[in-house]
Amino acid sequence: MCIAIITITFIGWNILYALSFRYKSNLHFSERLAVSYGLGLGFMSLGMIFFYFFNIGFTPLKIITPWSALVLLNSIIYFRNHKKATLTAAFKADDKNHRFLKTFFIIGIAFEAAYAFFRALIKPLESYDAIAIYAIKAKIFYLSKSIPHDFFSRVTFVFPHPDYPLNIPLSETLIYLFLGNLNDQLVKIIFPLYFVSILTVVYFGIRRFANSSYALLFTFLLASVPQFSAYATNGYLDLPLSFYCLTSALFLFLWFQNREAVCFLMISAVMAGLAGWTKNEGFMYCAINIFMVVLFFIFDCREKIWSKLWYLFTYAFIIFAISLPWIIIKKSAGLVNDEISLINYSPANLISQSYKIVPIIYEFQKQAFGFKKWNLLWIVLFFILIVKRRFIFIARERYVTIFLFLSVSGYILMYLINSSPIEWSLGRTWSRFLLHFLPLAVFWMATILKEDPRL
């Protein structure tokens, strides 16, 4: 198990190095580890799709071998360039105050992380979607040591949602291959590791503009949201998607602030592509990310038009290239979503579906006051939105606000064009969709409140 996680993270580390060695990336070691884990898992599972194209079976060695070329290349680059690398301080100086609070938050975060691992690993995969959609595919791939040639044309249609991307099923297969058996208990380690990675990325995201006690406070708030920690344990894809959404947005905002660090733009593009490779909703975040880049170029960037177009093209191309293998499979096998179709996007249909707004608003308020799932989080967020309204559209905060607004709007649009009964659909999905942008919402709260000297 440890070998699997170390290998995945090591390969992710190399991908991250290949993306960032040219630039001053200023990533903390722990932040690098967290990003590397998500990158490694996403890219190794994406690589496994090519085994299907070339009709090759899976073994750990075969899966690792193509990545060894990257490791070799990186080693050469490292030994030629590492002396030239400079690392400027990216994080705010640490404060010596609030020792008691800091200790308390660290214990709280450690408890939540340990409890997430315990809850995940005490049971094998058993929750509905985890079994019905993802684990069954992982089992099929593991038992046949490949993606069977008739999988997309026949087998996948026996199980629900054949159109869902395969990042996590293939990641689970990868863990099984390393373990050498179908241990559907240990494989769940994937999920609390995403949980810890999200907390790490949020912490260091906040540390770039605030001291450690402030960053620990918001990291603790995120870790202690019951719904968030529960989904670190049940084998659902919402937390992995949340990780890719968070990192794609956060690194994009970092690039907006420091355009010399082009690696941040590259990491953002790659993470957005992996969001699409994790869950269908990830494609919405790809579109939002591209739109944010366009918005930034229109309002805040003084570079030449060709330079802007080059960045935009590169960004969109990376996302497209990562999404392409799955798009090809979906198109060729005719895998379509049975609830949401682009045909329903017509303005006439949207107007006819506008009655759904009432149940949507009702469900929104139900979640906002659903303390059992969210503690006070959404209430605090709305309070901040009202009290600090002057700050939500200034400087860095503006892009985070727009990103969150577009995320909520995107989901509302999805509900409008969804062919399933709206109450059923909302009750089943909205509390999970909120998880996708929850870490970013916590980051937004931290950015908006940062100017308050009392905190």
């Binding site: 709280g108 079994i131 684990a135 089992k139 026996v158 559907d184 503690n375 006070l376």
Partner: protein
Amino acid sequence: MKGNIFKITLGIWLILWVSFITRELFRKGYFYDYKALIFRSLEGKRSYVTGDRFYEFLTFCNERLPPLANYGWVGVEPESVDMRRAAYYLYPHLEKKDYPDFILVYDKPMIAKAGYETFIRLDYVRYILKRKGDI
């Protein structure tokens, strides 16, 4: 003022945090689940989360169904979590809606199904029917 709002909010947050964890552990019974699960083997854990009785039947079916035979269900609610878990544990056997090779009957006393005969029983209410003729 701002400091007080912060302290009160954090205080309520912490009280809710502790109460939700405690509630989950004891009122929702997670503690007893963990206690029951912690010393079980992987197979035992699978059985516990699936329901010992149902898992026993799934294991029985897995042992008795011929390789690659398909099956249908009687006595398990369609689209239910039990149905999904069954599909997971019974793979590589695949479910077939119309005229499957075998019908798995769970918690139903002897049923008569045209074109099928009793294949093997686990007990009076858990058994497998086989399609008449060669499979």
